[in-house]
Each structure stands twice: as C-alpha cells, then as structure tokens.
Symmetry: C2
Subunit: 299 residues, 2 copies
DNA sequence: GGTCATCCATACCTTCACGGTATCAATGCC
DNA sequence: GGCATTGATACCGTGAAGGTATGGATGACC
C-alpha cells in the first residue's frame, strides 16, 4: 500500500509541468477526468496535497515541488533500467556511443581503429544526437558512453574523462566586412545571431549553457538547424557560428570563411559514462580514447 | 507500450535474488502463478529473456543481470521520491538525521545546540538505525542527512563531509589475560569473535566493510546485537569489540576494560546527504557540524 | 531404471483499477 | 449578471492482476 507507480509519477510530472489538467491529459493522450482521479489517488497514497487547484488556477504545493524535482530522476532511472536490459539482451551486444555528428575533435576514426584492437572491444554503434542531447541519451539508457563538451551542468552519477581541448573559430560570410580582418575579437561579433536564434553574448556562448532539456512547452523552442541550413544562413550573412577548429577544418566551403577569435574560450571534449557501468568494453574505450588523444596532442 | 512499472521491477528483483519463483512469491506475499505471468509479461515488453528457467533451476541471463543491477537504484529513486514528498508535506517539516545510536563522536549535543541558533535551522529528528543502515535510510528518503563512518563503499549521488577522526579501542573482559597488558596489538586479538559473529582479522575489520545490504536470504545473516548483549558477551569473554574512543568513554562498565590497540586504524565520522539536496537546512547543519568538529579538534 | 517430490507453466475465474463519456459546479472575465 | 473555461463527480465497460486447481517436466533417491 506504500509503493508509487511509474504511471502515477508520469501523470504527476505532466500536470506539474503544464499546471493545467486539460493540457496535461492531452500531452498524455488520455481524457481529463481519469487524470484528475489519478492525481487524487496519488495524493491519497502519499497523504500529502501536491497541487493547489481551483477551476481557474493550478499551482504546486511545497510537497509537489519536492516530488517534481525527485520524480524526474526516478523516471529516468526506470527508463534507463529498461533500455539497458533491452540492449543487453540483443544477440550481438554493441557499445553505443552518443555524440553530436562531427563533434569528435577529429579523433573518432583513430579512436575507433585503436579500440578495435582491444581484446574487450565490442562493435561500436554511433548514436548521433542533437546538441545537448548526449546526456539525456546516457541517462535514459539509449547509449553506453557519450562524447560531449565539458564542463557539464550536471554530472551527477557520471564519470567523466576529458580528451582534448581545441580552439573555436568563427564562421562568417566571405562577403562580411569582418572577413577582411585576419583576427577578430568576440566584441566585434556581439549582437550577431547564432544558429539557435539567440544573439551572441560576449562569451561566445559556452556550448553547454542551454541543456535544460525539453522545457514545459516553452514559448520559444530554440531553433535546431542542420549543417546545410547553417552554412546557407552564414553565406547569406544572417548568422555567425563558432565551431571548434576540427569541425571547421572538416567543412571548407566557398562563400564561408573561418577566422580565429582571439579571446574566444576553447572547448573541451570529454567522454562520460554512468558511474555504475562495470562494462569492460566501456573501460577499454575510455582507455583507448585517452591514449589516442594524448598522442594526438603532441604533434 | 514502452514503460516499465515499479511493480514489475519489484517482482523481477525478488525472483532474480531468490532464483526461485515459489520463494519469491512468498516474499512478495502473493501466489506463484501470477508472479510467473508477471515476469513473462515483463520479458515480453522488453523483448528480452531475463531468466533461464527449467522446473529444477532458475538462473539469470546476461540481460537479467543488467536489469537486476539497474532495477535496484531505480526502485530506490522511486521510493525516495515518495518518501521525500510525504515528508515535505508534513505541517512541521523537520530535518531527519540518520545515525547509529552513540556513534556521534560525542559531538552531537554541541552540534545540535549550535545548529539551533542558525536562522535556517529546522527541528532535528533523529533517525536511529542499525549498523550500516544509514546509507539505505538516506537513499530511500527516510532521512535528509546521515552521520556515518567513511570511506563509503558507494558514495554515488552523495556529498560527504568528514567531521572528525578518532581512535578505536578494544573492549575486553576484565578477566581476560590480555587485560593486564596496558597496550595491545591487533595480532594479539586475531581469531577472537566480533559482535557480528565473524572472527577478527588483522585489520580489526573496517567498520564499513559489511555494508552489502540485506543479502538475498544469505545463509548466515550477521548477528545484530544491542549494547546490553554486547557488554554481556564481552564480560563473559565470548567476544571482543572495537568501539571508537568516544563510544567507550560513554560506556564505562565494571567487568569490561578498554585498552588501546597500537596498530588499530582510526575511524572517521562524516556527514552525508543527497547531492541534489538544495535544502538550506541541510547546508546549515553541515556548516555548523564542521565548525563544531573543527573547534572540538583543538582542545 | 522406476517412482516420487519439486517446481514452473497453464487454464480458468473473480475482482477492481483504469479509462472513457456525460455532466455538474465553481471561478474569473467582460 | 451572463458566459466561457476548467476541474470534479457520476456512471459504465474493459482488461489487467491476483487467486485456485492442475498439468507436466525434471532431478533425486531407492
């Protein structure tokens, strides 16, 4: 008579994020009355009021805020358990590496080549995800290791091993007035629009800043552009872009020039994996990757 | 069609630990056939075989082992979410401190006195638990902070702040031949029985060693003695005991003598709390406790 | 090697929790 | 004060979960 159920937590999170039973029910793909009842039942089990509601307004009680904060990691843990078990049962187990396409510092081919020679190696399956989606992929058990920029906003439950630090450049239209100057400063680019639609601030926007996850129907979802779109907009002078040097090197393109920005902070790529991973395959990949990165660092 | 349910995980853990459907059903308080069906349904959802079973033998598949490992933290997370929400909803919120009775290094009165003066202080509720039960209490949301010996076997998800290190003594019957010698070495006590029924090894058994949690009906559950029983057995010469100095100081007793053991490692007490705790009350307690411990250290 | 006890699976039944529809009632807005 | 919005209630049907009875395979023992 004590145990919460996953379904109840899912329902509660939906309502707590929407603060609206109707919209939450819609999001959950069900009718509103059963949702109201389910929340009521959850409150009864806990013996605690979670939501203060009138017909015009729904708000979280302190207990509700606590539960909202704790429920999400709990749901993640359950989902991860399922995904990992599912993956472990596949006939041919592989090592799933989550990364954003091209953001490997140019190391990936060498890492994978070296890794294949390891005795503990498994076939590597690349899980290509969008910007900032490496961590969720790891936490939800869709990947076994992730390649991502550090520092992380939240590295709880993870082990992290930095691989390499590389400078970032700026990508400009070749017709841009600034393209004539061989070296720039961040201040020269202040106010320019970035690929995600936000204006460049004076830090050149640290790449891990916007990792809040899918916000509760936020009014302005950040623009998600693919490479072709990005280059198109750069060429037209609509946006500027701060790719790491290795990404720029891999994408030479007429109409787009790369320039160094003197005071733009570098980016550090790292491997991350669940702390409780006792997989020798993961351990071998980490070992291999650090070795490759170290040898690549001294040219 | 994707989500696991808490009930399914609980059932699976029971079977995976017992490796016997009948006993697992007994432990879960249900009949065996529905349990068999539930596991079958779980396997169907995951699309993975978790248990290899004949009528004579049940064993885990690799996927089953992965799930068993991941399911327990997931269940803990769900239980903790419920407990914390329940606690947060109480009219008068308190700070729950899990500890083993008396194992506070003698600091607790001063810590609590100083803590009460803090502006962020809440009423402190002591959660007295058995040896090695502080961590589970924390992880399952039964406590907000724990006072326990470090290093921890598993500190994932926790922040830890050491408070003080104190020597351990040995408690012997006053009639014991060794009682005449003012100073002893661990080797002198090798082979003596400890309160938990195990023989003393040459380290004097680090106090965090046997924290594996309630093992799956292990054949020899460690003896759990209370203080009166311990003293009784010491007096009779049946066991020896290695209490920290502060515990010994608090329990003078005729028929029992305390002696220093030259090469017995000291014990370090620390506070631990969930990494995601953003409670100012916890922060204030930690700050207060470290201050008190620091001032107590230089007499 | 035959008999037997053990133990997981199957068959079948009952109950109740969950979800749906229709409707009420309270609340804020114009 | 009328009205639209929105959460709660009433009522119903379906299906999942649990129970009992029983089957059938397997290892043990004589």
């Amino acid at each position: 008579m004590d145990d919460l159920e996953v379904r109840q937590l899912r329902y509660f999170v939906a309502v707590a994020e929407e603060l609206h039973f109707g919209r939450a029910a819609l999001r959950l793909g069900m009718a509103q009355p059963p949702l109201s009842r389910a929340i009521r039942e959850l409150e009864r089990r806990l013996g605690v009021r979670l939501l203060e509601r009138t017909t015009r307004h729904v708000s979280l009680t302190p207990a509700g805020e606590v539960l909202l904060r704790d429920a999400k990691p709990a749901l993640d843990a359950v989902a991860a358990a399922g995904r990992r078990a599912r993956h472990a049962g596949r006939a041919e187990p592989g090592l799933r590496l989550a990364m954003k396409a091209d953001y490997d510092g140019g190391l990936l081919p060498r890492i994978l080549a070296a890794y294949r020679l390891e005795p503990a190696a498994l076939p590597v399956e690349l899980v290509l995800v969008g910007r900032g989606e490496q961590l969720p992929a790891l936490r939800e058990g869709r990947a076994d290791v992730a390649l991502l920029p550090v520092p992380l906003a939240d590295d709880r439950g993870l082990d992290v091993e930095p691989l390499l630090t590389e400078p970032r450049l700026v990508a400009l239209a070749s017709t841009d007035p600034l393209a004539d100057r061989p070296r720039l400063r961040v201040a020269d680019l202040a106010g320019r629009t970035l690929p995600d639609g936000t204006p460049a601030d004076r830090d050149g926007r640290p790449p891990t800043a916007v990792t809040a996850g899918p916000s509760p129907l936020a009014e302005a979802p950040p623009r998600r552009l693919d490479l072709a779109q990005i280059f198109n907009l750069i060429e037209l002078g609509s946006i500027v872009w701060f790719p790491p040097a290795s990404v720029a090197r891999r994408h030479p393109r007429p109409g787009v020039v790369y320039r160094t920005v003197e005071d733009l902070g570098p980016i550090t790529l790292a491997l991350a994996w669940p702390q409780d991973s006792r997989s020798p395959a993961v351990a071998a990949l980490v070992r291999t990757a650090t070795t490759v990165a170290a040898t690549a660092a001294r040219p």
